[in-house]
């Protein structure tokens, strides 16, 4: 019954590419982005019946229309970037740290704790204490799943995911503890009158210090991953555990150390938000950025400078969509829809960078 097969090649054959030039790869990503903007534009058109071009112009205005808006965009970009920088070493090691959201929150809690409890410390000391506290808190939050992964190969994706919610509850607990005024179920602005523990404004701007810190981290992480001995160990472990063992690298130690580092930097992001931006703490402090940053880090292929670009793009969309929402009486969740569409396209485009699609040609 099987003897009458025709000689047939499959319609589409997929093969792995051995390599692709950088311009070509970025070209494919750019095409995906344009397609995504077109689709998103059509969706917007379907909803508000406005020319997509006009909509995008409104978005531009919303994100970059005034110095105040520019700074808000920069502030949020820095926050997203900081988390993505924290995730980079973990992802480079092929360790799925989905727990940034929680690591940011515990960093934020630690910062708020210091602001509330040590108002008498001199400002420089307080800053040092706050940053250390947030590093330790975030580091521990990353360390725990790291240790279990190293020792017992406990699934890190699910572990870090659960840690997020433990952190969220811990935040709710702290909010209830520090509630002000009582009954408001919020902490309110901490040290509103004294501004103790707030980032000082530099050159008349509140967020300059955020930019300095995150940019320093970006450069530092870039150098760490690219030039340091530990960074080298991370990439070997990420490529092949066998090779790492061959080179005498202690794989478990690298897992644990890198996760502590990853969590610590996410903790700093919490510090930036609480001390340098919102001056309060709530379960919305991380605001889902911990999840979005995962996508940023992944798409940037661990390159911290590419992360700046992608973080900016996403925050730009978010701010722009909020503007559309207020201008046309819609709600701001439009930004999540647009972000989702764009990310779907960019994720899909990676396929065409890694694989070649061959269509059948008449050979037989």
């Amino acid at each position: 019954m099987s003897s009458t097969h025709e000689h047939k090649e499959p319609m589409i054959r997929i093969s792995k590419r051995t390599g692709i030039s950088k311009p070509k790869a970025w070209g494919i990503r750019a095409i995906a982005l344009v397609l995504a903007l077109i689709v998103a534009g059509l969706v917007i058109f379907a909803i508000v019946k406005l020319s997509p071009l006009k909509v995008y112009a409104t978005m531009f205005k919303g994100a970059l229309g005034s110095p105040r808006r520019v700074w808000a965009t920069i502030r949020d970009t820095m926050m997203m970037l900081c988390i993505a920088i924290g995730l980079a070493p973990a992802f480079k090691m092929r360790f799925w740290n989905i727990g940034a959201e929680g690591q940011v929150l515990v960093g934020g809690i630690a910062t708020a704790f210091c602001m509330i409890n040590f108002p008498t410390l001199p400002a420089p000391v307080l800053f040092l204490v706050m940053i250390l506290a947030s590093i330790i808190a975030g580091g521990i939050w990353g360390l725990i799943p790291g240790i279990f992964k190293a020792k017992w190969n406990t699934n890190e994706t699910l572990f870090t995911l659960m840690m997020n919610y433990v952190a969220i509850q811990l935040t709710s607990y702290s909010v209830a503890k520090w509630e002000s005024p009582p009954g408001s179920n919020s902490v309110g602005v901490i040290n509103q009158n004294t501004n103790i523990g707030w980032f000082p404004s530099i050159l008349g701007n509140d967020y300059v210090l955020n930019v300095i810190i995150v940019m320093a981290l970006a450069v530092g992480m870039y150098i760490y991953l690219k030039y340091s001995k530990q960074g080298y160990e991370i990439s070997v472990v990420g490529s092949s555990e066998n090779t790492a063992r061959y080179a005498g690298i202690n794989v478990k130690k690298v897992y644990i150390r890198t996760m502590a580092l990853s969590g610590a930097i996410c903790g700093i992001a919490g510090f930036l938000t609480v001390s340098g931006a919102s001056h309060t703490i709530s379960t919305a402090t991380a605001g889902g950025r911990g999840f979005t940053a995962i996508i940023v880090a992944w798409l940037a292929k661990f390159n911290t400078f590419v992360m700046i670009l992608i973080s900016f793009l996403l925050i730009f969309l978010e701010k722009g969509a909020v503007e559309i929402a207020s201008q046309y009486n819609l709600n701001e969740y439009a930004s999540s829809i647009i972000t989702g569409i764009i990310l779907f396209f960019i994720l899909g485009s990676e396929f065409f960078i890694n694989y070649k699609v061959n269509f059948r040609h008449g050979r037989h």
């Binding site: 659960m162 919610y165 999840f291 709600n331 989702g340 994720l347 890694n354």
Partner: protein, 327 residues
């Protein structure tokens, strides 16, 4: 006594939402797909059910509860399955990373749901909230007769049909996975796609089907949340998202067995509501109490990795894309 009864009732209602989510995700994960888009999918299911019910009730003079319920359920299932289809296409056909795709789906689903949910509120008059009374009422109709059987009736029969549907789906899923040939083939795909492929099983088709149907089931959790838990209203409060992640946790807690998920979901419900009934808790220690479901899940995750019993492990190829290399 009434306190305990109302705690159990709250636990069952709460548990039902995540039982749908977890059962669907178990089916999906058994095919080797770790879909972190469950919250987004539940959002899609919830909003699709609500919107369809809203338009049906708004455009019909005498809306029938049965039609409304059927319509909402169908729309919820289809919308969620569509979410599963997006995920499937990206991860199976385009081999995109599963974690990143799932998280994006969560962002997207949440965006769609809250966007339309918020707009519906506005459409309904701008003040207050919309309500789909007839549909929600249909969903909340209790079993006639049985709910008056005193304590027993209150405990077991005082819920809308979806509580029982969730149990039935969980049992059927378990039966399908362990007792049917198609279920066996599906599990083989999730465990070892290379072996399944060699045995003549269509890996791609199995993954697509499991992921889309699984998403459809998960989405019913969102529908139940909207129709019963919040009684046919919409609030942009992120409630579904939290429950969606809890559903993912429940999958681990149930060690990938949907029958375990039934009692697991009610236990999660108990743990989540317990603070309300434990006397003497301050508001802050209540929040610590609410950590319990997640802590318990972490404990289970650690125990299964320590004990290393093969039956309790995640499907062996969970999270990995399958590519039959050029031969």
């Amino acid at each position: 006594m009434t306190q305990i009864i109302s705690l159990f009732q709250a636990a069952i209602v709460f548990g039902t939402v995540i039982l749908f989510g977890a059962t669907g995700e178990i089916l999906t994960e058994k095919s080797g797909n770790l879909n972190l888009g469950v919250p987004g999918i539940m959002y899609l299911g919830g909003i699709a059910g609500l919107v369809s019910a809203f338009f049906y009730e708004a455009n019909t003079a005498n809306p029938s509860a049965i039609v409304a319920v059927l319509l909402a359920t169908l729309c919820a299932f289809l919308a969620s399955a569509l979410g599963g289809l997006i995920y499937s296409f990206l991860t199976i056909s385009l081999r995109a990373n599963q974690n990143v795709t799932g998280l994006t789906l969560t962002i997207f689903g949440g965006g769609v749901a809250n966007f339309f949910g918020g707009s519906l509120n506005k459409l309904a008059g701008g003040v207050g909230q919309i309500s789909v009374a007839v549909t929600s009422g249909g969903f909340r109709t209790k079993l006639p007769g049985l709910s008056h059987l005193g304590t027993v009736g209150e405990l077991f029969f005082s819920y809308g049909f979806m509580v029982y549907l969730a149990i039935v789906i969980a049992i059927v899923t378990q039966y399908f996975l362990t007792k049917s040939r198609s279920g066996l083939n599906l599990r083989a795909v999730g465990e070892n796609p290379g072996t399944a492929d060699a045995a003549g099983i269509n890996v791609t088709r199995n993954k697509y089907l499991a992921t889309c149907i699984g998403a459809g089931i998960s989405g019913l959790g969102g529908l139940y949340y909207v129709m019963d838990y919040t009684k046919g209203t919409w609030a942009n409060d992120g409630g579904i998202e939290g429950l969606g992640w809890l559903a993912v946790a429940l999958v681990i807690f149930a060690t990938w067995k949907s029958v375990n998920a039934i009692w697991g979901s009610y236990l999660f419900g108990l743990l989540s509501w317990m603070y309300f009934y434990v006397p003497g808790l301050t508001r802050s220690s209540q929040e610590i109490f609410k950590m319990l479901p997640y802590l318990v899940t972490i404990a289970v995750l650690i125990i299964i990795s320590l004990r290393n019993r093969k039956e309790n492990q995640p499907p062996a190829s969970l999270g990995l894309a399958y590519f039959r290399e050029e031969r």
